[in-house]
Subunit: 556 residues, 2 copies
């Protein structure tokens, strides 16, 4: 099969004005960024207020292999399939970060014949949203160090600044740095570190804000560190919420592009799915729901991370509920959960597949607990055997779960028509209101316990002495009413990436907690969480090039 | 008078497609970025090849006050005035950096009724060029540290890496940092520092490249540091010139906007005028010359820095010559050069003004040495008295120099019609070919001596022991044939900012030299040169805001 980039470059894209027109948008509702990208106006939300909402479909997955389960590909394929059935579908995805593109992934915007395009633009600077976030984040860092340099009126303790600088790159050498060296004219020396831009709290803030005003209020609430007498210091006290909002005013507008089959796609925001909530923006999802009969969106990693946060955090911030969930599984990953070594996944193994369904089963239970109807999508791979496919579909049917074999990578929308029909049926079911995992009034310990027990299947939670102290502090500062955003490995239901399948009799250890007050959640860290990836020995960038007429080479 | 931002927000802009049409550009020649900005196609250069070139007018100035002499304002005003005379004029300016905007300046794109618009867009993220440069610069840093981390095949000495990281902000705490701390998984510890993005060699490279291919070749030649046995290490040896060109492919396209009077303006590239050459891009200037009867462009700081580099470096890289120069002077600055304290500049002082003309006289001689016709533009200020204006114009006339009083700040193009007529007359003069300050075959010492003696009026040059050693190294590496880019204070003809007027009997001290091989020049540092500005105690950002409908506040 052709490479993704070659399929993408051969795409017959429609001018973005035609895509906008297909959504009944008028000229003042959007601005062009080139001929195939647009930004939607900040005034559009208000204008669409009266329109009815389309159905919201969330795509999630089992615990993935390092290569991923193809959630974005299924999301795009499902949107295309709905369009084939003459439904007005809009896709809502996250923006890719430049770091992984230049590092390992070489580009990501779906795959095969289920991609969003222009793929090479989306994977490079796109419309500049992440650069604006990087600028705002680092401007705040400069303002903090400048405040301390010019007399430190707010009494900020340089040893307790939690706000870090960012770059949208994989750059391990920036994980731990010392800044302010070189004497009095070069600031106050202190320890600092850089995260990848998509791990910035500003990214989470942008993705949870409902409009420019809410964005500014959230930015104002950000806690950047603590004073010498341990009081939190906010952006509002520094006085920069206006400037930061100004830097983000265009980044706050959702971006409109299209799929290979000209289905409209809104790509906006891309927060990490570990220390943040891993979903595209609330503004994008709500706008897409106003523009389409169906919006198909996704959340990062497996259902234990992305879907839980989508359902417990994003829906609360956005005031909406999904109508159906798609759980993506691959036979390869299920075999891995059933004990097969990564190198042996190409071989048929019905026993391992059977054992691996335990992982899928847990995620089905999770979605049932939230009381949202779901469909299982088996994302077919060339190495899957007929016997394996039969075994998995039979198992799903025995479980009473609707299941569909999807071939959207190879066939585009036509490979997802059966899934689309089952998803529409699920979304049409009358279902009870969304049942959250925890109440906001629960204590911090209760919230974490409920997530660990009901979502991960843990037998309990252990808090480090540090975490216990931090919880006492957060209670003191009045942060206990916020939802909790769990940072955990995506590879296992537990906090140990080696425990595949459906582990039991395990406890979750919370090592560390910190407040993301602008985003509006508390982050609980379990295990080692990476906020700045490193580059491999041979980065994807080594293969990248552009010829004299501007044609891109070496993106996947 | 109204504030710049208020004038800019009230502007009656034409849709950018009308501006493009006025230049006889067809739809495939440009891409929209919103309704009032466009990027010109990379294929446009080739297409315009056969068109005749318009006349190139360079705006420069005397040694400025810290507030500047209003070069951009006069450049914009002159372009507008030419249009009033029914000449097709195109303005070519530099892109402003976000750092000074958020720091001291609060925005810069001309002033009063001679501004380029949309001012707030141009001053914030514009079309993302500087963000792309930041990304490419820092990607290269990450690739270097990654190379060392993964075995250091090229034998790079981490103590001799000259490539620095950048942010497009004023951030003194990043001037000197240590990266790679935290143990083996966090890279190799080493000293590093951040410059402001516009000081990056990549900015200079982008501005001197003639097309994408030349861009890639220049990027490949960049020297990032030295091996343990003191051999230069290039980007080509690391293998990333393709990826860096890919990251810059859109940034390499010139941006089209307009002035308050709808004169087309190409704003592209903005290298520092001290460690780099301080001019907008070669591609932009050449494109503007193909599109207009007149292109009005500017070079940073006074004629001793910007114009010298425009004439000795940029014209060589671009293969063109200017037809006339405008030397901007203000009565305030001349009084300062005549010995008046900054706080007393509002008061009439004819003696000081007379004494201050010595500074202007030197810059007139400089332009005469290059053999380019010139006109003096007196940029009028409300505090100038009639007697002062009369004294200065009389002095110019006695010197035999064409002079014009311009009121473009207050009146727009109509305040520059007299200047436009005199500039057209100057540009129509038959003049001898451009006479460079030095030959490329001169030794490095000779080049620096010629610049110091003929441009600055110095009696000679002293080289530090370090600089002498560096010159020997550069000769060894074969870099001696490159032009020299002088980094010197803009406030004085000498290397001492306190020596105003026309100092004599002074020597220039070259402390340090380094190669900018991608840009294609050697940088000679005199005095302290700032590559990362700091923020004042009350940064301009404190006043900035945006209201709920997206309207910008607090830019000047």
């Amino acid at each position: 099969m052709k490479k993704d980039i070659d399929i993408a470059l051969e795409a017959e894209m429609k001018p973005i004005k035609e895509i906008a027109a297909s959504l009944n948008l008028s000229e003042e509702d959007w601005e062009p960024y080139g001929h195939y990208k647009a930004k939607l106006s900040e005034k559009l939300g208000e204008k669409l207020e009266a329109r009815p909402d389309g159905k919201i479909i969330l795509t999630t997955s089992i615990n993935p292999t390092p290569a991923g389960e193809g959630k974005s590909t299924v999301t795009v394929g499902l949107g295309q399939a709905l369009n084939k059935l003459n439904k007005k579908a809009v896709i809502a995805l996250r923006e890719p970060s430049l770091g992984p593109t230049m590092g390992l992934k070489g580009g990501a915007a779906g795959g095969g014949y289920s991609q969003v395009v222009p793929m090479e633009e989306i994977n490079l600077h796109f419309t500049g949203d992440i650069h604006a976030i990087t600028s705002a984040n680092n401007a705040l860092s400069a303002f903090i160090d400048n405040h301390i340099h010019h007399g430190n009126e707010l009494n900020i303790d340089p040893r307790r600044i939690s706000w870090k600088r960012v770059v949208d790159l994989n750059d391990r050498a920036l994980r731990e740095v010392v800044v302010g060296l070189g004497g009095p004219v070069k600031g106050v020396p202190r320890e600092d570190g850089f995260m990848i831009s998509v791990a910035s709290e500003i990214m989470a803030v942008l993705c949870l804000a409902s409009d420019l005003n809410d964005l500014k209020e959230r930015l104002a609430r950000i806690v950047i560190g603590y004073t010498y007498d341990r009081k939190p210091v906010t952006v509002k006290e520094l006085g920069y919420e206006g400037a930061l909002t100004l830097l983000l005013k265009d980044a706050a507008k959702p971006n409109l592009v299209q799929t290979l089959e000209n289905t409209p796609a809104i790509i906006h925001g891309g927060p990490f799915a570990n220390i943040a909530h891993g979903c595209n923006s609330v503004i994008a999802t709500k706008t897409a729901a106003k523009l389409g009969d169906y919006v198909v969106t996704e959340a990062g990693f497996g259902a234990d991370l992305g879907a839980e946060k989508f359902l417990d955090i994003k829906t609360r911030a956005g005031g909406f509920e999904p109508d159906a969930v798609v759980i993506v599984a691959t036979i390869r990953a299920l075999k891995m959960h059933g004990g097969v070594d990564k190198k042996e996944l190409d071989k048929e193994n019905l026993n391992a597949l059977q054992a691996g369904t335990a992982n899928l089963k847990k995620h089905m239970e999770t979605i049932e607990q939230f009381r949202v109807p779901y469909v299982i999508a088996i994302n077919e791979f060339p190495t899957d055997t007929e016997e394996e496919i039969h075994a998995l579909t039979s198992w799903c049917e025995q479980e009473g779960a609707p299941v569909s074999l999807v071939q959207v990578h190879e066939k585009g929308g036509s490979g997802g028509v059966d899934l689309a029909e089952k998803v529409m049926a699920a979304a049409d079911q009358k279902h009870q209101p969304l049942s959250y995992t925890y109440d906001l009034e629960d204590s911090i310990e209760q919230k974490i316990n409920k997530i660990a027990r009901t979502i991960y299947g843990a037998s309990g939670v252990e808090f480090s002495a540090k975490a216990e102290k931090q919880i006492r502090q957060m209670n003191k500062f009045g942060y206990h009413h916020l939802p909790v955003c769990m940072a955990k490995t995506q590879y296992s239901l537990s906090d140990d990436p080696a425990k595949l399948g459906r582990p039991d009799h395990f406890k979750i250890t919370v090592r560390d907690l910190y407040p993301s007050i602008g985003a509006g959640f508390l982050v609980a860290l379990t295990g080692d969480v990476m906020t700045m990836p490193g580059l491999p020995k041979q980065p994807a960038a080594l293969r990248m090039d552009v010829d004299t007429s501007g044609v891109v080479k070496g993106l996947f």
